[in-house]
């Protein structure tokens, strides 16, 4: 801790903590006083109870020492940045730390200029300005959003990394309260024609990123989201409006949404053919694998944390499923031999992250900790061997298998799946 050494003591700390003692005649030398200060004033800064604080401001900011940062993959037009999962609490991701995946950068779009065209197999093709969309009855719901490429860096039989953070592995996951208008409300306005079964959603970025989505899904719980965590959605998340499909892979949640075409078949765009498809190792390629299967990750303790001593520690993490609610998270602290049910922090919302906790008494010996989630369909988060067996080695999406962290006897935490497979 700064301030334990006399040389670092501020003048104010010296005066305020020692003056009374000096006056009482208990301190006879400067070194005595420094010892006293070291006990009584652990911080080097001014005593905040003795100086006036800052004034109110129009926009708040984080404490200077608290500066969580996204992890940027590459400075490129098509790139991503990952949410610092280990730095966060609860389930909501601060909007400025929500992960990003852009295919051609973030477009500059003016709220008042943006328009959404809805056409195709409809009675009345319509165009909506943002002021139109915002006038429709509104809904807010809390949901996770996860890129289906999340976790791709550890699906490797030959080179399993060990010095890798949960942010680098699984930071393409964030949770927000999203606000907008149900897609069903807008499709009711235009009148969907019989025979329609898909939509094409198209973005207004310079990749004109497009995805086909089953009509049933958008009618069920699809949303045109213009709000995120109480404010208007941020440019990196699709300002002024994005498609939000709870539980579906991130890429289908088309940002900067400018067009919905109602169709009777998928369009087979690049991002649903050459990307976001899964070669299964049996000569086939799985397409339109849109649902995000149940998954959990331990966020504490995780690399590069070092447990400073043995004793009681609370293992924490996040669990989520695209198919509904998480019903159970189990934790193992002995490499997967025994499992105990972790506590879930309510409310447990469907298609939303839930924080789980397990109080663990670490005896100081090397061990491996894991978590596995079960959702309301009964689906249990698989092992990596199960995914390898089912899908082969060549998939690069939907790697929702169990993760593991190894705790060394010195307390060092590293990614531990390589020790188990």
């Amino acid at each position: 801790m700064p301030g334990k050494e006399g040389s670092k003591l501020s003048r104010r700390a010296w005066i305020t903590t020692t003056s009374g003692v000096i006056a009482a005649g208990l301190v006879r030398s400067q070194s005595d006083a420094i010892k006293l200060v070291a006990q009584e004033a652990p911080t080097a800064g001014p005593d905040p109870t003795k100086v006036p604080g800052r004034l109110v401001s129009e926009v708040g900011r984080r404490a200077a020492a608290e500066q969580p940062r996204r992890l940027i993959r590459a400075e490129a037009l098509s790139s991503s940045s990952r949410t610092p999962l280990a730095d966060l609490m609860g389930t909501i991701t601060p909007a400025d730390l929500h992960f990003e995946r852009h295919h051609a950068g973030i477009p500059d779009i003016k709220f008042e200029d943006h328009e959404l065209l809805v056409h195709g197999m409809v009675d009345r093709p319509m165009v909506f300005k943002m002021s139109d969309l915002m006038r429709y009855p509104q809904v807010s719901r809390t949901h996770f959003l996860e890129c289906s490429g999340n976790g791709g860096g550890i699906y490797n039989r030959e080179r399993m990394p060990s010095e890798i953070t949960v942010q680098a592995i699984d930071g393409l996951l964030s949770t927000s309260e999203w606000t907008g208008v149900p897609v069903s409300t807008i499709l009711r306005e235009v009148g969907v024609r019989r025979g329609a079964s898909w939509i094409l959603a198209e973005g207004g970025d310079s990749a004109v990123m497009s995805r086909s989505v089953p009509l049933d899904k958008v009618m069920d719980d699809g949303m045109l989201a213009y709000g995120q965590n109480g404010e208007r959605i941020r440019p990196g998340q699709g300002y002024p409006v994005r498609l939000f499909l709870p539980g579906y892979e991130g890429n289908t949640n088309v940002k900067w949404l400018r067009r919905i075409e109602v169709t009777d078949r998928p369009t087979h765009t690049r991002d649903e053919t050459s990307k976001y498809t899964d070669p299964l190792g049996d000569g086939t390629v799985r397409q339109f694998s849109l649902m995000m299967d149940a998954k959990s990750v331990i966020t504490f303790p995780s690399y590069p944390y070092v447990l400073p001593d043995r004793g009681w520690w609370e293992i924490q993490g996040l669990a989520w499923s695209g198919r509904g609610r998480i019903t159970k998270v189990e934790v193992s602290t002995d490499g997967g031999r025994r499992w105990v049910t972790a506590a879930l922090q309510g409310p447990v919302l469907p298609k939303a992250t839930v924080r789980f906790r397990h109080l663990f008494e670490w005896d100081g010996s090397e061990t491996i900790i894991l978590s596995r989630a079960t959702d309301e369909t009964g689906y249990v988060q698989p092992t990596i061997e199960q995914l390898w067996d089912a899908r082969g080695p060549a998939t690069s999406y939907h790697q929702n298998h169990q993760r593991a962290w190894k705790i060394a006897s010195g307390g060092e935490v590293t990614f531990g799946l390589g020790d188990l497979v």
């Binding site: 809805v118 649902m291 899908r391």
Partner: protein, 218 residues
Amino acid sequence: MTRVPSSIPLGRHLVAFRMVVVIGAAVLLGACGSSSGSVEADASVVGDLSGTPEGLPAHSPSRFDFGAEASDARVAMWDIDVRPDGVGLPAGSGTVAEGEQVYMIHCIACHGPTGIEGPNDRLVNSEQWDAFPRSRAIGNYWPYATTLYDYVRKAMPQLTPGILTHDQVYSVIAYVLYLNEIITADAVMDARSLPQVVMPARDKFVMDDRLGGVGPIR
């Protein structure tokens, strides 16, 4: 694209939504009623713990009519996607030879002299695969040639998207298909021929066959 008569009565969905709200409230009662004894079901509370989609209020009009009808011209201006059956392809045509010239100006910097070198996505790989591909490129992974038109027209070249004419897009697609050994050097690509190009990986693609959370892991 195809106009089909008679609307789907979407009221079906609205009824379902209302039922869900009521069921959600009942679940709330069941889950919390015994412990607190004070939770009351209130069907007017939407977005409660049931988390289900919210229907419109019962007294909603049949249409709100916020927004404007889109003219045919407006739809035509923005309706730029291209489907495997060729719907959406514009008039125009392109050749392999013309495509090579387009490629050397607009594509080579990111995709390399022969479409293999990068630094961005590898475009060319005519080596086919049985179990799974070692690398994924147009010649061994893309199921439909029409996707090339949809994508190039919208997103390429990356720094100057939309700069290519229809003829140039057809041409550069012809050149890339030629490099992948899918069409011959004298082939001409247009709205009629492009959808007829059979891509080697076409029959490998299958719809998601996971089991909705039940059964074995797939």
